[in-house]
Assembly symmetry: C2
Homo-oligomer: 347 residues x 2
DNA sequence: CTGAAAGCGCTAACAT
DNA sequence: ATGTTAGCGCTTTCAG
């Protein structure tokens, strides 16, 4: 009971001013580094009182005046994929560096939720957002752009929207994966992907798949594409497809969660990797090199995507004048491991 | 150029009031569901104007009055472990259900950063926080509790702090893992853990390890404990230990990232799992059942931890009177797969 | 070098 | 049933 008496009272700038025997203005100025106007003396007193009272400026009040909160928001479409954590880590690190705080939400791929969250962020005067869009709220996106609301679209492209965009070259990623399989003696290559009409990501990886086949002189007869309708059904769908198409000797999985399902399916069907079937997955996850056999993957610089997206956003926020819209396209990388090894010639 | 002219002007409650020909009070009341006082007529008009103007109340101004933001914060200590993303998903889902928004940050295990973030959250008038503490800011924690700042501590316990606490029974988890190995014929069991003096998590899992040995009549002579000093050195340290202690026939890994390092080390040493060494990991990650051989693990209900923690926090926030502090202890679960299979008797 | 006063957008007594 | 008014805590002209 001795020592400091702890009472949960909010201490305001007025309290500091009073105790320091100065005006609120003075306190405000000093706390905002606007020191040119003050005696070293007053500065010292004020800072001491601030310390004693443990005064913390109320960010709400501050934001209300300036209409800047130093908060950015991120709208993700799922929390299940390791890829997004790394992106998030990058975003958070940038925030840390630049003195921003971060609000986060999960649209879960639902356009209604996406819209709701974006509006909530705006009501909270969040300075800008990073978003992996559902791509199904076109008029909303257009409105945001028209209002010059600072925004960075990541991972996907939104058709006919002129906004900052940070993506990985998915066509190239698809191409690299499939080209690698072809060069290692595979010929009947299945591409597994998600069925999502508007998502550029999947479309482009498949485009890369097709380009690779074409570049090896293989025509549409050699297109084997399986569109998974939901992660739950993936296992069944993959097994069925492989049974129905016994000629398949290589698989390009466009998503790391699908890759796990693929591996399980192959095990059930008693197909050996890479002897019977070579596989290449997308995203160099933490487990990729530890599974059996170690998985060849397309690596995406997920951390950097997050880091740069946030930088881009904060730059736009800070640049008062009409900001320049930027496209950043990261390059994927092929990480070769055993799962795709060359077919040995039978002697 | 026809149609709506888009101008990025903030529309305030005054604009709505004016256009609807009523006072700000009326608009405010109607928007806050305080409808008893108004004609259906006015309500209709106001709502129509709100719609037309696309008016969104400024949450900053709102919060400034009420000193409630409907935002909670979460302080995590890393973004690298899948476990935390499931927790986060749970927290986010609760926020979604209860109409809260979420701020997130990463202390990265650094007490200084932790302190900074907590203060930032408080300045932003965040209504409460969920935290996986570094456990190295004792006086700060005490102050938060003394000030009755709504808080839920997860995953770890903070010594002599009376705050809401949501954890998993780690002693039991350790016990289950090791007991299982013992019952399957292992006798020289290594426990791999992180060296962190104050973290209850690791201490308790090791406690469970010891209890299991004791319950099987094994004394301290049978304690094999390896404390990893950093994830980077893990591989080396594990290999060295296993070489130096050739009698080891079972390993209990207290952390899922360490498990991956363990598996790699075993592969390098040409030790067969489960024939030479049986292993049990912590956290039933997405890849646990897909690696080779499929991994026996202790599953933690990570999603529920997040979900319940946030519920607890929001309950505390909402309960005006002195809230009851709660402890929630979740139970871990043993998931048996091949990596720990019984040693076959040699005939 | 310092302070008084207005106002950011909203809510909530307190009128009427 | 609706409006007037006084702040919430802060910044920022404008005056001194």
């Amino acid at each position: 009971m001795n020592g400091k008496l702890v009472i949960a009272v909010r201490v305001t700038i007025a309290d500091v001013a009073e105790k320091a025997g100065v005006s609120k203005t003075t306190v405000s100025r000093i706390l905002n580094g606007n020191l040119d106007h003050n005696t070293p003396e007053t500065i010292k007193t004020v800072l001491k009182v601030v310390e004693e009272l443990e005064y913390r400026p109320n960010a709400l009040a501050k934001g209300l005046k300036s209409m800047k909160t130093n908060v950015i928001g991120i709208v993700l479409s799922n929390f299940r994929n390791e890829f997004w954590f790394k992106v998030l880590e990058g975003v958070e690190d940038t925030c840390k560096e630049q003195g921003y705080n971060l609000m986060i939400c999960n649209s879960d791929g639902d356009p209604k939720l996406e819209e709701q969250y974006i509006k909530e962020f705006q009501m909270r005067q969040v300075d800008g957002i990073v978003i992996n869009p559902t791509v199904r709220n076109q008029s909303l996106y257009e409105k945001l752009v028209a209002n010059k609301y600072p925004m960075v679209v990541i991972n996907r492209k939104i058709p006919s929207i002129h906004a900052n965009n940070v993506v990985v070259d998915n066509i190239k990623g698809g191409f690299m994966a499939v080209n690698h399989l072809l060069e290692n003696g595979r010929k009947h290559i299945l591409a597994i992907t998600f069925k999502h009409e508007n998502i550029s990501t999947w479309q482009e990886r498949i485009e890369g798949y097709q380009e690779a086949l074409t570049s090896h002189g293989l025509t549409e007869n050699f297109y084997y594409i399986l569109e998974i309708t939901s992660l739950r059904k993936a296992n069944q769908q993959i097994k069925k497809y492989l049974v129905d198409h016994a000629m398949i000797d290589g698989v390009f999985s466009t998503n790391n969660m699908l890759t796990l399902e693929l591996i399980e399916a192959l095990k059930k069907l008693d197909k050996k990797v890479p002897e019977d079937i070579g596989i290449v997955g997308y995203d160099d996850t933490i487990w990729a090199k530890h599974i059996n056999p170690p998985l060849t993957t397309i690596r995406q610089p997920s951390y950097d995507i997050g880091k740069e997206s946030a930088k881009l956003l904060i730059n736009e926020i800070k640049s008062k004048e009409s900001p320049t819209i930027k496209d950043i396209i990261f390059q994927p990388e092929l990480v070769v491991r055993e799962s795709s090894q060359e077919i040995k010639m039978i002697d």
